[in-house]
Amino acid sequence: MPDKRIRVLLAKPGLDGHDRGAKIIARALRDAGMEVIYTGLRQTPEQIVNAAVQEDVDCIGLSILSGAHNVIIPRIMELLKQKQFDDVLVIAGGIIPDQDIPALQQIGVSEIFPPGTSTGAIIEYIKNHLKERNL
């Protein structure tokens, strides 16, 4: 599908308001030609999953810095499964300690980007992985 623009939902789940990263990513993805839907702050897992389904996105990016990732991300993955929308590419970033990463990957989060990741690396990752999935 060479002509279809990649659609990404960027979401800030939980209570934390640190949106510097999410907003930089939103702009970088747009500059790279993707369509970005940013949910705004303090979205529940239900709101995020509903938005993803409604907007029929290819990728969900979750930005979370509060330490609530081990509770919130599994719920999002569960809801995606219930809605049979779990073929979407899910990536996450923020303050997520190394020891939590394997468990999150096991439930279907494709990649966790630590602080210091370049926007270029994230753009490449999304493009490559969506290409693989569509093959």
Binding site: G14, L15, I24, R27, A68, V71, P97
Partner: protein, 559 residues
């Protein structure tokens, strides 16, 4: 400084001569490392500063003496020779018991003041059993649902001897009421206790984004606190007008300074409009700035802050009391400068930043820990950051003389540029009708977002180097120990909340909450009502719900 006997034009001449004769031939032969040198904020920096850069510089007008206007050199005549800055490490995690233990540890290690970090549900005025609190309880700070938690948090701490800073904004008045009721119950005199409330809602709308109510009722809560403190808790610092979070959100140093001081102007105006006399509350205003990596830019920022605030208070608000003119501030090293890669390097970054804050004349300082890009810090990591300050204070000898960098052509020029940039921003924001209006049209938010994006691009183009991130990388990272907060905290907190609701006098709770709601709809000062409610063990969530029903909640404009 430039000798009066040398006319300014002569300095220009001399500098031009040097450029022609010595500088340019060399630069033509071997180019400088970069085409343009800029501060971390993107501000251009010249190869050399001389008296030629300080044309109208006047020692008396621009610097003065420490403890005297315009306070550029510091607000106290002896600065750290008299009293060192307060070492105030911000901490809070898990339950009130966990944090109380950490407080006792920090005090036993020579920390001189306390600073409480609350968890996100507390910052948002939600109880631990609220559905949105799931996963968040005790994570970013300590969970405080009611007076019970506040009593535990300060168990065994002498509140007349220890000053406490509380990082709380939207529900600041309620947490402060809990602190005051606890202090009184334990026999401390409200006239003698001291501490600081962050209580700065404007920077929440601008940067940190932990808000509950819309701006105007939020400002009323703040002026209620000012008024109550003036009469009842005279040693309390009622607000800590914060640039820290603005900078963390990606602003430049100048934006941090200008937006923070302009927020300060907004609070002073609100208090005057509420009928307060400027000299009654202004001496209790305090500020909070970031200490970032660009050493000289930061020092210039702090010095300019004191100078600008002096003029604001004296000229714009006609304050008469010298204490109203003095900008006192707390500094914290830049969390956003820390890297997850090679985390031990963060100790070095923090040291440079802390030194800038000290040379800029801070009144108190928090140094971040090396592991904070992963989680809240471990006790071991906190100990190193505490020792960093103690080494600066005891070994470096930098506190032996006041404002030791004054007279540096570069620093004085940077201080002047910071000041000018600040007045320019004030003019723009005044023209928009003030800071609340500027926030409503997203002006500061957009400025910060643009600066953050430009910085990120500069890093990705390697115009700005971050060691371990875009240069000097290592293949295999050595993992470090991190603090882990498990879900037990949430369970404990929810159980305690249920027990409380079963055992308190619920009729009294209801009565005080109803009275609060009525008062919120009137113009009465709400502090006595908060004190009554928390004294009856009404929870933070219950109290905030009453306020939500009267004030509504804030919705961020889309931009």
């Amino acid at each position: 400084m430039s000798k009066i006997s040398t006319p300014h034009s002569r300095w220009h001449e001399l500098k031009t001569q040097w450029e022609k004769k010595t500088l340019n031939p060399l630069v033509q032969k071997s180019q400088e490392r970069r085409k343009q040198f800029t501060s971390i904020s993107g501000h251009p920096i010249e190869v050399l500063y001389t008296p030629a850069d300080l044309e109208n510089f006047d020692y008396e007008k621009d610097l003065g003496f420490p403890g005297e206007p315009p306070y550029t050199r510091g607000i106290y005549p002896t600065m750290y020779r008299g009293k060192l800055w307060t070492i105030r490490q911000f901490s809070g995690f898990g339950t009130a018991e966990d944090t109380n233990q950490r407080f006792h540890y920090l005090l036993s290690q020579g920390q001189t003041g306390l600073s409480v970090a609350f968890d996100l549900p507390t910052l948002m005025g939600m109880d631990s059993d609220h559905p949105m609190s799931d996963g968040e309880v005790g994570k970013c700070g300590v969970a405080v649902d009611s007076l019970v938690d506040m009593e535990t948090l300060f168990e065994g701490i002498d509140l007349e001897k220890t000053t406490t800073s509380m990082t709380i904004n939207s529900p600041a008045a309620i947490l402060w009421a809990m602190y005051l009721v606890n202090a009184e119950k334990k026999g401390f005199d409200l006239k003698k206790i001291s501490g600081t409330l962050q209580n700065d809602i404007l920077k929440e709308y601008i940067a940190q984004k932990e808000w509950i109510f819309p701006p105007r009722p939020s400002l009323r809560l703040i002026t209620d606190i000012f008024q109550f403190a003036t009469q009842q808790v005279p040693r309390w610092n009622t607000i800590s007008i914060s640039g820290y979070h603005i900078r963390e959100a990606g602003s430049t140093a100048l934006q941090e300074l200008a937006f923070t001081l302009r927020d300060g102007i907004e609070y002073v105006e609100a208090a005057i409009q509420a009928g307060l006399n400027v000299d009654d509350f202004a001496p209790r205003l305090s500020f909070f700035f970031n200490a970032h990596n660009d050493f000289f830019e930061e020092i210039a920022k702090y010095r300019a802050a004191r100078k600008v605030w002096y003029r604001v208070m004296k000229e714009r608000f006609q304050a008469k009391e010298p204490r109203s003119w003095m900008l006192r501030f707390h500094a914290q090293t830049a969390g956003c400068s820390l890297t997850a890669q090679q985390p031990y390097n963060n100790i070095v970054r923090t040291t440079i930043q802390a030194l800038a804050a000290v040379l800029g004349g801070t009144q108190s300082l928090h140094t971040n820990s090396m592991d904070e890009t992963y989680a809240l810090p471990t006790e071991n990591a906190v100990a190193i950051s505490l020792r960093t300050q103690q080494i600066l204070a005891s070994e470096s000898e930098v506190g032996n003389t006041v404002d030791p960098l004054a007279g540096s052509y570069f620093l004085e020029k940077s201080t002047l540029e910071m000041e000018e940039g600040c007045w320019d921003y004030f003019e723009k924001i005044d023209a928009m009708g003030g800071m609340v209006s500027a926030i409503e049209c997203c002006f500061p938010q957009k400025e910060i977002q643009e600066a953050a994006y430009q910085y990120q691009r500069a890093v990705e183009r390697k115009e700005k180097i971050i060691v371990g991130v875009n240069d000097y990388l290592v293949e295999e990272e050595v993992p470090i120990e991190t603090l882990y907060i498990n879900q037990d905290v949430a369970r404990k907190q929810v159980t305690r909340l249920r027990k409380l609701k079963d055992s308190r006098n619920n009729a009294e709770v209801k009565k005080s909450l109803t009275a609060l709601r009525k008062a919120a709809a009137s113009a009465d000062n709400l502090m006595p009502h908060f004190i009554a409610c928390v004294g009856n063990y009404a929870t933070l969530g219950e109290i905030c719900d009453e306020l939500r029903s009267v004030f509504g909640t804030y919705v961020e404009p889309i931009f």
